[in-house]
């Protein structure tokens, strides 16, 4: 049986909007609908989608924070919302936007509280703490109150906090938000090692596709609450990899370039983006553009994952 098993999952919210003086109108938002996927132990899965797609809502259901409106949901054989406290021992959660640490307490005290909450044996607690503190380079911050930590330091504290009890599954909702390049790199390395050494299953949402490229073999793309792609990262490339982009810098701002075999995607002052089939040669296109317009510079962009995903989103497949 898969470790995480989701079938036909749905979650709606009733939203009240102001509709004039002292009046409210109700509407229903379908945050997640007809969502189906399963994840095996030890996988590292990227869970991506545009703002408001339903990623956080899914994670909240997987952890038992939210009760699903309908559908099947099993995590480690448990039903999250009914067996929330049993499940809690086996999972770790990091919400990048929020902290689980106590604002006024030094990091060390927050960790100690968590030790009590999860009943981690002293020996194991010390081992884990020493190890994460070293790997995440937190040693100097242990006695600083959380409110005085920088965002990156706090995030590392949060990740340590989520792992002190050796969870089987780690959910990360935008863990790299606001981190600088070096911190991001270090965090990715840490997560990869965690998965390799302990077999921890990872479900990661992010808007930084480099996180996905660095960590996940598998991606699930969700849009409007339902999954629009589930497969390997390479497959995602292949799926939408059908176009390349020719970036043209004209000498002057002009109307959109009109040449056969390519279409204008975007115009920004004198710069224009033209997309053309990936399997077609660029040479005739470049020649056609150069002969008909005053070109200052040209470059070709290979399809990248962001474009592929943008494509997926806009089609809402």
């Amino acid at each position: 049986m898969p470790l995480i098993d989701v079938a036909g999952l749905e979650r709606t919210f009733v939203v009240r909007r102001r509709a004039g003086f002292m009046r409210r109108s109700k509407s229903v938002v379908r945050a997640v609908q007809d969502l189906t996927f399963s994840i095996e132990a030890g996988e590292m899965v990227g869970y991506i989608g545009p703002n408001g797609a339903g990623k956080s809502t899914t994670i909240k259901m997987l952890t038992g924070i939210l009760v699903p409106t309908s559908g099947e949901l099993r995590v480690a054989g448990l039903e999250p919302s009914r067996q929330r406290t049993d499940l809690a021992r086996r999972i770790g959660v990091v919400f990048g936007q929020r902290t689980t640490l106590w604002w006024d307490l030094p990091l060390r005290d927050s960790f100690e509280l968590l030790q009590k909450i999860y009943r981690v044996p002293d020996q194991r607690f010390r081992e884990n703490l020493d190890r994460f503190v070293e790997l995440l380079d937190l040693g100097d911050q242990l006695d600083t109150p959380v409110r005085q930590l920088s965002l990156g330091q706090r995030m590392r504290g949060d990740i340590t906090a989520a792992l002190l009890h050796d969870p089987e599954i780690l959910y990360l909702d935008e863990p790299t938000i606001g981190l600088d390049v070096v911190s991001k790199g270090r965090l990715r390395e840490f997560l990869r090692a965690l998965n390799a050494e302990r077999g921890t299953t990872l479900l990661l949402t992010t808007h930084d596709l480099q996180d996905i490229e660095a960590l996940c073999d598998r991606v699930i793309v969700i849009d409007h609450g339902t999954s629009v792609y589930d497969g390997t990262l390479a497959g995602l490339h292949a799926q939408g990899g059908s176009t390349r982009t020719l970036v043209v810098d004209l000498v002057d701002t002009g109307p959109p370039i009109d040449v056969p075999g390519a279409e204008v995607r975007k115009v920004e002052g004198p710069r224009q983006w033209l997309s053309f089939p990936a399997d077609a040669s660029a040479a005739p296109l470049v020649a056609a553009v150069a002969s008909a317009y005053d070109v200052a510079d040209l470059s070709i962009q290979e399809p990248d994952i962001e474009d592929v995903i943008r494509e997926l989103y806009s089609h809402g497949a």
């Binding site: 909240k60 406290t85 006024d104 307490l105 005290d109 909450i117």
Partner: protein, 269 residues
């Protein structure tokens, strides 16, 4: 099973201990806050005492008898407030996403909410109410049954206010900025029952008996301690019902709490 009951209590104890340790690491500010809280609370009863400089009885009760009524709910609300005062901050927990975090921890949510940022500062109220209560004690003609009724009354009073705090805080699951609403019932009810129910219209007395049953944990048992019958004519056996009232309130509170948690919708970000 025993573990299921004992674990939350043990966990509550652990967390409270850590918060106390954190609080005591700034002894100066702690001392100031405690003294401040004690002074504010002390004034509370002083106001009633001053009233008695121009009258001898209020609704047929003397100052010491009123002190008894005052102490009974005062100690109860003080114990409940000290133990679980943080439950009032539920709306804040919802807004800041703290509640989401708590829901991912293997300890019952209520235990976490109640123990969060526990502070000894709240002891000011218990101290003051206890002083008033002790001062009132000589008015009672003590017998073994009366001692028993008094002890049960204080325990029930604490339990009942515990229930009321939880019950009215649940409103914040639905409207997150309603902490004042809870205060209207808990502290408001407490203030009313500091006076003999004979000074109020009969409807108020009945409401404090059958709707918001605070009278069960001070008025009725205190009548027994003073050897009096209810001036409103309600039966004497009500004087022994304080545990039942507390149990009823706690049951309702826990049911509403469960509903609130299951209907909790988190926040959009």
């Amino acid at each position: 099973m025993a573990d299921r009951l004992w674990r939350p209590v043990a966990c509550y104890g652990d967390m409270v201990r850590l918060w106390i340790r954190a609080e005591l690491s700034y002894p100066a500010s702690f001392a100031m806050l405690v003294v401040g809280s004690m002074m504010i609370n002390a004034l509370d009863f002083v106001a009633i005492a001053i009233m008695f400089s121009s009258i001898d009885t209020l609704g047929g009760f003397g100052l010491r008898e009123i002190a008894l009524l005052y102490g009974a709910t005062g100690v109860g609300i003080g114990v409940a407030d000290t133990a679980i005062g943080s439950v009032e901050r539920i709306g804040e927990f919802v807004r800041t996403g703290r509640l989401d975090q708590m829901l991912t921890k293997p300890v019952p949510l209520l235990v976490q909410v109640c123990s969060d940022r526990f502070t000894l500062r709240r002891l000011g109220r218990i101290t003051q109410a206890s002083v008033v209560l002790v001062w009132a004690l000589p008015i009672v003609d003590w017998t073994p049954t009366r001692v028993l009724v008094a002890v049960v009354m204080l325990l029930s009073s604490s339990a009942l206010f515990f229930g009321l705090f939880v019950l009215f805080s649940c409103v914040q699951f639905w409207t997150t900025d309603a902490s004042e609403f809870a205060n209207a019932f808990t502290y408001g009810g407490n203030t009313l029952t500091q006076y003999p129910l004979t000074v109020f219209p009969r409807e108020v007395a009945l409401a404090l008996t059958f709707v918001l049953p605070i009278a069960f944990v001070n008025w009725y048992p205190c009548l027994y301690l003073l050897g009096r019958s209810d001036p409103n004519g309600l039966p004497d056996w009500l004087q022994f019902c304080s545990p039942l009232a507390a149990a009823a309130v706690i049951t309702v509170a826990l049911l509403v709490w469960r509903t609130g948690v299951r209907r909790y919708t988190s926040t959009g970000s």
